[in-house]
Amino acid sequence: MPKKIVAMRVNGRPVEEAVEPRTLLVHFLREQCQLTGTHIGCDTSHCGACTVDVDGQSVKSCTHLAVQCEGSEIRTVEGLAQAGVLHAVQEGFYREHGLQCGFCTPGMLMRAYRFLQDCPDPTEAEVRAGMSGNLCRCTGYQNIVKAVLHAARLLRQAEDATAKAAA
């Protein structure tokens, strides 16, 4: 099948590549963009390890075609830390030991990144519902929930500080 040219932005950088229509977004990111932080877990849209941000929404990239991303804004786990400073969700997972083997972590981080923008001051129950599309085979859910709540506090503190500085 002839390849199609697809142009998008990945972690703020413009990317233009020729892809087969059947190329899944996760393979495109890992193999053509060399961004291997996004993991392939179940490959059936259940586990969430491949979660990335597409146009401001969490998407399971194993069940999304690269050709569908024409003009899209993509963020992957590689796009979280800025200038060597961990993003609040990464800091939260680090402080609260929100990972064991680490395989699910990129998907957990990307889901938490979007969830906390949609729901900045979540209850524990809201975190569990918001993160319910991500599975951890180590079953380390208690600390993952704590990590997301920790990140929520960090993000709110940063926002308060910004607001105060502006006042």
Binding site: M1, P21, R22, H46, Q68, R111, F115, G133
Partner: protein, 287 residues
């Protein structure tokens, strides 16, 4: 797993999509959210030569009131159903039930039209649409036709949708004030299909039932409406004997396939239990 090769089209209008369908015929499949179709293609259960992606057609999205009905564009996602203030007011069963479908990420992609047109008895919208007396708008080369939800599903993965047609919208009558509703779905975990599910729309006239609609999920080759169970409720108070009759009618209607979620007896018993609970939960909301 990577799907087999296919050509990809992303039309910008329903007319353009219909033109592609006419030209490509049975070799093409319509791509909605892709969370059923792409996994089936990975497993080679489906090997279309072309995909016609409906995601870039704005006229297929959105929820609005029109001629006394709520019109839901077929490409409206589950999360858009959940977030719709209009639905929460007019058809609150849909946003509530959509929360029980899949998981947050999948609900960003999965659409109500895709859920219906796929014809999978495990999908949740068919039983909901039946209980809500919804109609579907099917657009083809000769124009538009409407099909009632109860007439749309012909068998597992088989529907009234012709090869050259697109499901463009779902029309739902708003629930009159005082209508109770509930969707009870037994599932093993987040994201699972129902072991058995029951959608109920109910109105009471004092202590007795004046209207009941019951739809069942995943306990037969298609979703089911259960008129015998509804008849058992009509004009009756919600007493144990009446509810037992509802359960018996639901059990009679069930014809589930045995799978890892349970055997035939278990699924049948759970369907009856979901229906009983949904009737009681809906009644609590009738006021």
């Amino acid at each position: 797993m990577i799907p087999p090769s296919f050509d990809y089209h992303a039309p910008r209008s329903v007319d353009e999509a219909l033109g592609l369908l006419a030209q490509l015929g049975g070799e093409a499949k319509l791509l909605a959210g892709g969370h059923s179709l792409l996994p089936m293609m990975k497993l080679r259960f489906a090997q279309p030569e072309a995909l016609i992606d409906l995601n870039r057609i704005p006229e297929l999205r959105g929820i609005r009131e029109e001629d006394g009905l709520v019109r839901i564009g077929a490409m409206t996602t589950e999360n858009e159903l959940i977030d719709s203030a209009l639905l929460r007011e007019r058809v609150p069963l849909l946003p509530e039930a959509a929360r029980l479908i899949a998981d947050p990420q999948v609900r960003n992609r999965g659409t109500i039209g895709g859920d219906l047109a796929h014809g999978d008895p495990g999908n949740d919208h068919p039983a909901l649409a039946m209980a809500l007396d919804a109609e579907f708008v099917l657009q083809g080369p000769a124009g538009e036709r409407r099909v009632k939800a109860v007439d749309f599903f012909h068998g597992t993965y088989m529907t009234a949708l012709a090869e050259d047609e697109i499901l463009t919208a779902i029309l739902v009558p708003p629930l009159p004030p005082g209508t109770g509703y509930a969707y009870h779905k037994l599932k093993r975990k987040t994201g699972d299909w129902a072991t058995a599910g029951a959608a109920v729309v109910l109105r009471m006239d004092g202590p007795t039932v004046s209207h009941a609609a019951i739809g069942l999920t995943n306990v037969a080759p298609t979703a089911l409406r259960v008129p015998q169970a509804e008849a058992a409720l009509a004009g009756q108070p919600l007493e144990d004997g009446v509810l037992d009759a509802v359960e018996a009618a639901v059990r009679d209607a069930c014809d589930p396939a045995e799978d890892l979620r349970g055997d035939v007896d278990y699924k049948t018993a759970m369907a009856a239990q979901m229906a009983r609970r949904a009737v009681l939960a809906a009644a609590e909301r009738c006021h």
